[in-house]
Symmetry: C2
Subunit: 240 residues, 2 copies
Amino acid sequence: MRPKIYLFGDSITEFSFADGGWGSALTNHFTRKADVVVRGYSGYNTRWALKVIERVFPPSEEREAASPLAVTVFFGANDACLPDRYGAFQHVPLHEYKQNLISIVTFLKKKWPATRILLITPPPIDEEGRLQNPYVPNPLNEPERTNDAAGAYANACIAVAKECGVSVIDIWTKMQQVPGWEKACLSDGLHLTRNGNTIVFEEVVKRLEEEGLSPETLPADLPLFSEMDSTNPLKAFEKL
Amino acid sequence: MRPKIYLFGDSITEFSFADGGWGSALTNHFTRKADVVVRGYSGYNTRWALKVIERVFPPSEEREAASPLAVTVFFGANDACLPDRYGAFQHVPLHEYKQNLISIVTFLKKKWPATRILLITPPPIDEEGRLQNPYVPNPLNEPERTNDAAGAYANACIAVAKECGVSVIDIWTKMQQVPGWEKACLSDGLHLTRNGNTIVFEEVVKRLEEEGLSPETLPADLPLFSEMDSTNPLKAFEKL
């Protein structure tokens, strides 16, 4: 009855319902219009995403009458871990990342031809922030991710979007337009602050609007209080 | 694959994904363990809820393998509108409210016998806050809701929970234990502030834990990064 919007990605998607998160904001934005379903998998890269994609979007879902309105695909921050630093086990070479993203888009397009697919590039990296927040011991004191590497993956993501004919948000570039983006948008050099979350939220809303998806264009799930007749509220339920 | 927790109620449920909302917090709390699905209908009372309950929880949902883990049922704030004030069209007499709540619980129990049902009483009312925030013209300048009336509906809700053998959160009493609860917990005399949302979130978590539902006891959806072998991360996906 209420269509879905899936958020598929890594920790930046998984954590999107933490305080001030872009997933919560999106749920609130589409209140009574769509269900926002989070499918974020912390630490995952596109290689691992492809290992699980058929379980994330199982065939049984197809029994549901309607395909989802949209799926955001937000991977790359982990693929872009440098191959010679402590995050090497998450690293995926650039050419494979590109191919994997294409496979993810192809899977979704085949499954749900009418669903809007929205790629999101990895965010920029604040290398100083990463040094202060290693998730495993980091005796060399070198960041496991660099902003340059993230930028290369962002460009690859944009190229895939173009190649596949789907929308893309270049959050890597967008965030770096914010003065002091390193601390303003990123809490640990990688994950999003409230400000960073707001930027992602606003960009997703803007892009979905461009694709014709907004609360204004979607039907409400059940009669809205604002449209009910206070002299005869039960009338609203007669036509259901 | 991921079980659901439904939030069924009025605006206090519908708005639970706004900034600092208890629905978002619950989604984040059950990350990778359960999907929190919001089914809040602003302005609705139990009479209207019963008109739509079969559409909110349609038979098709039963095709899904598993019944939801839990359903919160959070109505009464609108039923408790006074019958002689501007919110009269939302008013439901106390005895009917009680009967309607029983019908809602009965419907859910019949549909999903194993699902935990968690009633939540209406919150307290700050009458001064209501006077400042009428949603229709209020020339008499009298609040459309009183705290006493809300308390009577809260007591009826508690009685229904006892009668039906389901859990209940007495948020009416709990919030009034907060010093300055009128402004600390309520933004307009009725809806929840960030503090008020936190109280609801914590109470729901506590009650679900008592019923055996917590992130610790639920299986994760797909391998967790924290449990992966960094020397052979792909091993985690072999057993899927």
